[in-house]
Amino acid sequence: MRLRSLWLGLAGLAGFGLLLELVPRIGVVSDRYLPPTSRVLSALSDQIEAGALWRPVGDTLLTWAIGLALAVVAGVVLGVVIGSVPFLRAATASTIEFLRPIPSVAWIPAAIVLYGPVRAGTLLIVVYAAFWQMLVQVLHGVVDVDPVARDTARSYRLGRWARARWLVWPTTLPYAVTGLRLAATVALILTVTGELFIGTPGLGAEILLAAASGAVALTYALVLVTGLVGVAANLLFRVVERRALAWHPSVRQEVPA
């Protein structure tokens, strides 16, 4: 079954590539707007040969990683602190609900004025967007501790640290990992957004440059690379999820008995 779906998936990708090759060749869409797949791929290989691809990819990955790390640390620390004190939770709920839906792009003009086209400007919007994903998930997780487990921990007189380690942490972990995955996706979107509209170096800036200079095939190739970076990120965090939650029923269930 797995092998079959692998082949079907490959066939799907090949079919998609073929479709994009044929549509401009037959003339349904002008190849000035949609270059055939072969031309996009050759533009991509030219770019790789010229050695001009890895620097922007590295820039994008670096901005993304720094932003995600900052957001995750801040989200986990604040989430655990706020989540474990009922008074704080009640007092901050309305503020969090208000600040969270503010679209992070609203900060773009401010980021441009504050920092100019440097990494810090993009980091501002990346951290803002990813932080809330993380915080909200951790808050849910800390609150979700099973009452029976909590009473058990109390009966055995587990200390503060032991409770945090054996009770709160395992309960929170699945939520935190979900938060991490959501935050990683959002952070990548905003990294590229920042590169496009603030002008931080990276794939976004390269896409804009290629589009402005009329290199349509290269533009498509760079967008494809951005997508591949996203796929790689998704796969990475799926592996992380499996590793971190190998003991959790939701992951264990998927293994055939």
């Binding site: 949609l34 004190v85 590229v192």
Partner: protein, 267 residues
């Protein structure tokens, strides 16, 4: 601390205090700290509020805010139709799912803003282009969540439907869409957040009206109180739309939340 919190939460007054307390404190601090601000960028809250009233509650409400919101509504509605439609199709067939899954994974992973230069090639610079950009970002969470929801339809319910020969539209409405609806709503919520982002971004370049356009114009012409008032407006819109969504969620998924609540109690 904990006891104090509970006692406070017990009274109505306490509850109102908990909801409004921190926001009131924060706004007051903002007001006082920024009151005499001479900084070129960080202006006083008073200036920003005055700018807000003068900027957004005038002709701009019709010229900039409404077009933005209407494009968001069009793009979001089209995404719902496309996403749920294709999602039900893909989710119902195991083979079709295996064929298109890698393609969908790739397309979903492309950050929607990266598509803006490409969509610009196709759709020119008109309204259509901006709606297409919103769709290009919103459709994925809806589509993928619908696929997952349709795939996870309860086996017993599906067999029951088969036994009673519930087919076609009846099956779609009462079995497939109903049991996928919590997942679909999750996707729709994510899509709304992305939609607002793209509404703003799609207006940042080569446009003549819209909230994003106006804010960018204020920024480039150094009218910072107006710029901040635009940031404030986007915040208020984000909050208002998420409240609206929560109302809709309660209407549509009332049965589901009730079910979850009783399951939690009986556990």
């Amino acid at each position: 601390m904990r006891l104090a919190g509970m006692r406070l939460a017990g009274t109505v007054l306490g509850r109102v205090g908990l909801v409004l307390g921190l926001p009131a404190v924060l706004v007051t601090i903002w007001w006082i700290v920024s009151a005499d601000s001479e900084h070129f960028l960080f202006r006083s809250l008073r200036d920003i509020l005055v700018a807000f009233r003068e900027t957004w509650l005038g002709p701009r409400l019709v010229e900039d805010v409404l077009p933005s919101l209407s494009r968001l509504a069009q793009g979001y509605a089209a995404s719902l139709v496309l996403g749920i439609g294709a999602g039900v199709l893909i989710g119902s067939s195991r083979t079709l799912r295996a064929v298109v899954e890698p393609v969908l994974e790739l397309l979903r992973a492309i950050p929607p803003p990266a598509l803006i230069p490409l969509i610009g090639l196709f759709a020119g610079i008109g309204d259509t282009r901006r709606v297409v950009i919103i769709i290009a970002g919103c459709v994925w969470p809806i589509l993928l969540n619908t696929v997952e929801g349709v795939r996870a339809v309860d086996e017993v319910l599906a067999d029951t439907c088969r036994s009673y020969r519930v087919r076609g539209l009846g099956r779609l409405r009462h079995l497939v869409l109903r049991s996928a609806s919590p997942q679909i709503m999750t996707g729709a919520r994510q899509a709304l957040a992305i939609g607002i982002i793209l509404m703003v971004i799609s207006e940042l370049q080569r446009t003549d009206r819209g909230i994003g356009f106006a804010v960018e114009q204020f920024q480039t012409s150094f009218r910072y109180p107006e710029m901040w008032s635009g940031v404030l407006l986007l915040g208020v819109l984000g909050v208002a739309l998420s409240l609206l969504f929560r109302l809709a969620d309660r209407q549509i998924l009332g049965w589901y939340h009730g079910l979850r609540a009783t399951q939690k109690e009986s556990r």
